[in-house]
Amino acid sequence: MTLRRSISFLAGLAMALGAGWVAFPRVIYRSRPQPVNFSHKIHAEKAGAKCEDCHSFRDDGTFAGIPTLDKCAGCHAAPMGTTAAEKSFIDEYVTPNREPQWSAYAGQPENVSFSHAAHVKRAQMTCESCHGNTGSSDTLRPYQVDRISGYSHDIWKTPNMPHGMKMADCVACHRQKGLEHSCLDCHK
């Protein structure tokens, strides 16, 4: 009697734990493939050694982020290699001059005002310290977005990174550096 009851209790417990730890994290994110199977590795080797070569700063100090099509078309007007990925990229985007809809893994929500200049130029941080080994990755992993909040998965935890890009993570570092003044430091 009591045994059966405790069994059913434990069963419920186990079920809930499983659902919460295994199923839920899968369900909460919607996965979206990147438009093009892009290899940072190859481009780092062949095109430019440094991230800034493509992910450049504008004259006014703002960060241009993911390069636009014309940057790609500069080299890929015609196929340079033989990969199917490149060919489809040219056919789908370069030739019709259609901007690929990239999804920024580290894209912060609208209310965050993040200055690359302050972190890269002034604080001399490396790209890897936030973006992990994306720069040397061979393929683009699918972009995962939280179904409810619409935040990128990487905000919570960037792969191959000790920390994520949640507010708490930013604050931790700023506090250590004595640069934490107010909400509006980083919020807009």
Binding site: M1, F9, G12, A16, G20, F24, R58, E110, S149, Y151
Partner: protein
Amino acid sequence: MNTTRREVLMFAGGSAVGVLFTPAPWRLITDSALWSENWPGIPAPGHGEIRTRYTNCSLCTAGCAVRARCVGDQPVQLSGVSGHPLTHGALCPFGLAGHHLPYLPSRVKQGPAKEAADAVANGIAKCGAGECVATLDLQPARTASWTYRRAMAALKNGRYVAPSGDSSVAVDLSQARTVLSFGVPVLDGWGTPGNVNTARGGFRLIQIEAVESRTATMADQWLRIRPGSEDALAQALAGTAPIATAADATGLATSEIVALIAQLEHDGPTLVLGSSRLASSGRTVIARREAPVPAEWQKAAPVTALASLPDRSVRVLLIDESAQGEYLPWHTIEKKLVSDNPVIVAFAWSREGYARHANFVLPVGVYPEVAGDIPSAIDSVAATFRIAAPLVSPPADMVKPEQFVAAAAGLATGDTLRERADAIHKAARGSLFTYADAKSQALKDVTADAFWKALNAGACWIDAPDDKAPVAQLAAAGTESRPAEQADLPLAVVVSRELTPGSPILSKLYQESNLRLAPNRVALNPACGLEDGAQAVFETLLGKCHVGVTLDAGVPAGVVQVSGSPAVLDLCAAGVRAKVVRV
């Protein structure tokens, strides 16, 4: 039975406990809060490279120089161009939100261009003796206006009609020691804001007005007279009428008027601004030669004042509302139209103006969508030529009024703006001020193409100073005759043309605060018996319309102040009286 129910309960209990030890519930709580930060309906601003582009504001003839902060090509913020010789980096509230105009909900999106063209052609053909085809141009002295005049000249019985006011006359604020204004909003919309503010230190401002307008508030002296008694006072000041009558009419003390006269004589050069006419002593009002025009344009119809058209004579009326100007009440126009179905075409971007009366309403581009030049401002001593360079592209099937009219008159036109620019360049007078580098250079040092390029990238051509000649001596100013007393219409009407139609953001000024009088409101003295915000009917001999009531201690008893919305202006005329009845 019982046992299984217990088991189910235990199971539920177990899972309840279990869930608490998983991330799920906490994450759901967090996510719901994050969701509320950018929940549906909150637009996300566009992102991209921030660029700076320049143009000139064509909302009024001040034509202030504008620096536009753009995301990509879309302007998101407008500001003045400091160092500009005429506009001195100032923008008025309407100009600051000018880039919102293309998105006005009330905007006219399409219209029957084809049918209108046929109807006009028809009307022109039917035009009998003594009848005419008239183009009403609310903002004369533009290049487009020249096209109209040429088109009307090309027609046997074409007339070019413009609101009274002579574009060849300018005032020189820098010369004035005293400015005597008969209800002219000198500090609030008249002339070029930047220029007025710069010159403000140099003159003493005497405001003669029935209500406490913004200008009256800021004037050095405010003389509150009875509405419509401007003329009487002006006569007295000019010495053409006894002071006693003026005192009687205006409600001022005789001593006040005497003191005023003495003061004007003593203070030296005086500029007198009437609601329509100007007068001056000293060199404060001067003749201004217009910017050069191509020789072949000289075959143009003369400027006709609406009043001088014979009644019931206009068979075809083409109204260009695309450029803001003085609004002529409909009843003044209506009586000029032939009685048997005249053809009325309004080129308008808003349905609130003449569109309410026209047979055909044709949509036009708005600032900053369309290229067009801006006439020289009243307070600019030298002629100017500046183009409102488009910052965004207009929607599909917008009509270009001047082209429509030219076509209707069978007049072939090219790129008139360019032709005008070349003519100016040929004259090789004056200087060119470019905004991007805030530099001024003599026009003769610039090639024609460079000139044209500069004008479209934000620049202003300023004519060389002319040997100035005084136009008028101190003479009668002010036009309005004193309202006739009427028992059933107790209130004298004072029109303050405060609100040119503009961005929805202007609700900050007249809905979310009472700083300005809303288009559909009238201001009354707090002792009028109605309460603030009450809904009422505004009635004159010319009709009635619904208005909201704003109480303002600055409006004297027995006076109703109305804003410049066409619906209300249609009910107003010189010396009209009104009543405001609560509904």
